[in-house]
């Protein structure tokens, strides 16, 4: 089916809009199904499943033609619709008749009704007088009021704030690293590659930053041997900006660029 026809079928009632890309944003498959039911003035308790499935799939095709990403949920619903459709076609066997089989559409209808209730509730919510939109409160300027610092300090914090802070830490440090902060039994080869990763892209790191309190003795030794090995391989350059100052490691490939940086560092330091 050509694209324009589908559009006029589905969304645009006037043909003049046929060439304009008119595709509504749906929150999800349930939202789309409710739209189709409303547009076709269907009885939600007696959905003509074949026709609604057809229109639903047309919508997905349209999305595909427009190169829009189709979320997985839309595809799952398409499969559900097709399954209901095929179950509707099955003849009812006598035994099943006794058991009063559930209408294959029942589950879907329940979900649609439930979803509709919450969608209506969301419209009601947004029609309220919102703080900062229709009603305003005053700003609280505690400096203006109090001359002395707070004495009791009840802490005002939500669990999510804690979790979110932690998420940021995890964003900086990989999970694997997090699980094994201080790696035991790391090989020199692994440590060399770690150090090189740190220096990747012409970065400079301090010698000290490779050693921490609480590292195992093994790791300290391995780290030190790795640095010696890297020097021997001429992969890194060790510099000291001033005597007794910090020792800096740079990757030798970018040594020229880094020398400039180090000069700046020197200016900053002293």
């Amino acid at each position: 089916m050509p694209l324009e026809t589908m559009q006029s079928n589905l969304f645009a009632d006037s043909l003049e809009n046929a060439y304009r890309v008119q595709i509504e944003e749906f929150e999800g498959p349930l939202d789309l199904l409710l739209h189709l039911i409303k547009k076709n003035e269907l009885d939600i308790y007696n959905i003509p499943i074949a026709s609604i499935t057809k229109q639903y799939l047309e919508y997905l095709d349209l999305m595909k033609e427009l190169n829009l990403d189709i979320a997985g949920e839309f595809l799952v619903m398409a499969a559900t619709l097709l399954q209901i459709k095929s179950r509707m076609l099955l003849p009812v066997t006598p035994e099943e008749e006794d058991a009063e089989p559930e209408d294959p559409r029942a589950e879907l209808v329940r979900r649609l009704l439930e979803y509709q209730r919450y969608r209506d509730a969301s419209y009601q919510l947004t029609s309220r007088n919102l703080l900062g939109r229709e009603v305003f409160a005053r700003k609280f300027d505690s400096d203006e009021i109090s001359e002395n610092a707070p004495k009791e300090e009840p802490i005002d914090v939500e669990l999510f704030e804690l979790i979110d802070a932690f998420r940021r830490v995890l964003g900086r440090v990989s999970v694997e690293t997090f699980h094994s902060v201080i790696t035991d039994g790391i090989s020199i080869a692994d440590r060399i590659s770690q150090v090189l990763t740190l220096l990747h892209g012409g970065k400079t790191i301090s010698f000290d930053s490779l050693f921490h309190d609480g590292m195992t003795r093994d790791l300290l030794v391995v780290t030190f041997l790795s640095i010696l090995e890297l020097c021997k391989l001429k992969l890194i350059k060790i510099t000291q900006a001033e005597s007794l100052g910090s020792i800096w490691l740079t990757s030798s490939a970018q040594s020229e660029y880094l020398e400039e940086e180090l000069e700046q560092e020197e200016i900053l330091v002293g």
Binding site: P29, L30, Y45, L113, R117, D120, T126, L131, F136, E158
Partner: protein
């Protein structure tokens, strides 16, 4: 000290503070007054504000009392503050409504009801502090349980969760439910497609 004075003290406190003040909090702050006296002063204040039809209203939100500007004057106030206020996406509102009415609720339950992945919208609502993590559900996988926060009540001007408008009964909107005798909506996440 007279009841008149107590009323004006409370009005001063409400005026200065930017968050709702509860009776408990006021009783703690105004320790030289009887709790019952504070309560009746508050009630009188509420009535006075209602009757006076002024530019400031005394709202009962999030279990407390808060002075707020009259909603009808929002357009004029916006000229001053240039604030356009919060804007919610449909998906944020939907999710918020589901959580408000169904809490405590897990992410899988929300996603079953909405029919779409809701991780991103949950995160943004948490960041806006409109949601709280209430704990973990005692089922396999121990999923997190979500609920709405005090900020949610403040934003929407709700006294408490009971002040939420009731969900329209489906019977009101539609003919009798032919599936009424069937078991309630399964919210088992396993069943979610």
């Amino acid at each position: 000290m007279s009841a008149r004075t107590l009323k004006t003290i409370i009005e001063s406190l409400l005026f200065v503070y930017d968050q709702p003040l509860t009776l408990d909090r006021l009783a703690l702050l105004l320790e030289e007054f009887e709790r019952s006296a504070i309560r009746s002063a508050l009630e009188e204040l509420v009535q006075e504000y209602e009757e006076a039809q002024r530019g400031i209203v005394l709202a009962q939100v999030a279990g407390g009392y808060q002075l707020r500007s009259r909603p009808e004057h929002a357009d004029y106030i916006r000229r001053l503050t240039k604030s356009r206020g919060v804007k919610f996406s449909q998906s944020a509102l939907e999710t918020l409504a589901i959580i408000a009415y169904r809490q405590p609720i897990t992410r899988a339950e929300i996603e079953y009801l909405r029919g779409v992945d809701s991780g991103g919208v949950l995160k943004s609502l948490l960041e806006k502090k409109l949601l709280r993590i209430l704990g973990k559900k005692d089922v396999p996988g121990k999923p997190l349980i979500y609920g709405t926060s005090r900020e949610f009540l403040e934003l929407f001007g709700l006294k408490d969760l009971n002040a939420l408008p009731t969900l329209k009964e489906i019977q009101e909107l539609a003919p009798p439910d032919p599936f009424a005798d069937q078991p309630a909506l399964p919210l088992d996440p396993v069943e979610a497609p």
